[in-house]
């Protein structure tokens, strides 16, 4: 399977470079809006980065190239909008630290649940947001916060989040429990700590919270979500600071939002998140 994919990519590269050669001779003034003549890393190919493992429900089976899962679907939709069919999309692995490192990146854009903040925007470029995210608290039915109804009920809870997430900021900025939060490298380790009872609850983005509560925990439940102001926490595609692609890619995301594609993909791949009560 992998070999086939490799062959497909090679063919795509050759086809891509050929078509670029033709395009270059015919059009001198290049407009960077659509079509595979964007100044990407490899001409004719759109290179997209994401972390390994890529988590459900954002991806499926840790395979970003299958078009399944919300972010994989969004990535292919953006590619199509830019004029790159699925065969001309190449995926590369990019851990969080390589995404935020200074200098040139190994991808044209990265899609990996990265929240847009003004401070981060000083170091990297973001596309416009492709998903409005809310944070949610999950726990197990045995936990002392299983029946919490408000933020005040969480005052004595030991809560966890994974590093690099805005979930941590939700604990320190919104919930403000007395105990110091625990911070983990990945959601997997954090989930294990929750199963062990080493933390009382785990803060995750809402779609991940639904997935973890249902699939990774035996008796998991969602305590509630924390309502952000509309549009205050959005996931964006990450690009090299000052990338010449940012405008085109933002335009593609805007177009997908305007024609309802983003909403439809969210409805298809992410759980109906309206069911979680809002904690105040």
């Amino acid at each position: 399977m992998k070999k086939k994919l490799g062959t497909a990519l090679t063919v795509a590269t050759i086809v891509g470079s050929l078509s670029f050669g033709i395009a270059a001779t015919s059009a001198h003034a290049v407009t960077y809006t659509t079509g595979s003549n964007l100044p990407t890393l490899t001409k004719g190919i759109l290179t997209i980065g994401t972390d390994d493992p890529a988590y459900t429900p954002w991806f499926d089976n840790n395979n970003p190239a299958d078009g399944k899962g919300f972010e994989s679907a969004v990535a292919y939709a953006v590619a199509k909008q830019l004029g790159y069919p699925a065969a001309k999309v190449k995926w590369v692995k990019a851990s969080f630290n390589t995404v935020i490192q200074p200098g040139k990146k190994s991808f044209d854009f990265d899609i990996n649940e990265v929240s847009i903040t003004p401070e981060r925007a000083k170091a990297v470029d973001f596309s416009t947001g492709y998903y409005d995210v809310a944070q949610a608290l999950i726990t197990t039915s045995k936990s002392k916060i299983a029946k919490a109804k408000s933020i005040a009920d969480l005052a004595n809870a030991k809560l966890g989040a994974s590093v690099g997430s805005t979930s941590y900021a939700t604990i320190t900025g919104v919930i403000k429990p007395k105990a110091k939060p625990a911070v983990f490298d990945t959601n997997d380790i954090a989930t294990q700590a929750l199963i062990n009872g080493q933390i009382d609850g785990l803060v995750l983005d809402l779609p991940t919270a639904f997935y973890v509560a249902a699939a990774s925990l035996k008796n998991g439940l969602i305590v509630g979500q924390f309502a952000p102001k509309a549009g205050s926490d959005q996931f964006g595609l990450v690009l090299t600071k000052g990338s010449t692609l940012t405008k085109s890619i933002s335009a593609a995301v805007d177009a997908l939002r305007a024609n309802g594609t983003l909403k439809a993909l969210a409805a298809k791949w992410l759980s109906n998140t309206a069911g979680a009560p809002v904690l105040k």
Binding site: F96, I100, Q101, P102, G103, T117, E119, R120, K122, A123, V124, G160, V163, G164, S165, Y168, A169, K180, P181, A182, V183, F184, D185, I189, A190, Q192, A193, I195, N196, G197, Q198, I199
Partner: protein, 282 residues
Amino acid sequence: MTYQPSPLRLQREASRRRVSRQSTLVALLSTVIIASVLVIVVTGAPGFKLVRQSFFSWHYALSAFPHVLSGLWLNLRVMIIAEIFVLILGLLIALARTSHSPILYPIRLMATIYTDIFRGLPLLLVLFLVGLGVPGLQISWITNSAVVLGTTSLVLTYSAYVAEVIRAGIEAVNPAQRMAGRALGLTQSQTQRYVILPQALRKVAPPLLNDLVSLQKDSGLISVLGAIDAIRSAGIETAQSFNFTPYVVAGALFVALTIPLTRFTDWLTRKQDRARVQQGQW
């Protein structure tokens, strides 16, 4: 009559001064040249401005400092507690491994297996097994605190190293010392306590302190269990700003923490060397 140095001696001293001046000059020159080349290569690199911004930004250093410092307080507590337990446990294992009595064979065997396993296991795996596996057993009287379990993992791993260092020290003491101790009427354990161990520990003090310095740095690894130490605090700050300066701040604090211990090791080694030269052991 006052002492008059001979002309030959004066000539020799003048020549020595000249050579020493020359070597100082050469050392200075080569340092300046190498330093300038380094500075030119690094600052002239196309990405230098970007790297300086993302690794050496005053703004982020100042804003991260209090968080990193409060994380370092955890490192300090963990390393001190761990060092105490590592030295005790390491000594006990070393004594077990160097024992000779046939009755103690099972203990000797256990000590050997212990050092074999824990020197070979990556610390990260020990941390996961102890820090996430043990609480998973849901035994009510065992704590599930990340800090306590993390420190336990450090003690388990580092005791194996330290035990081997101490064992090397014990075996480096001449066997005649033990016989001499016994001949003086000391019991087996008195000989161990007053004759063998003082000499053994003195011999291995530098490598022992080396292991402790290494332990200081590895104390940060307990953050994989959720505890927020200096490195994890830096990671949290970095994730918010996408700027790596907080890590550099944490690094500088770690260096500041280990330098006193390394200088102490150097000082101890020099002192021992001098003592040995005076005793005519060399």
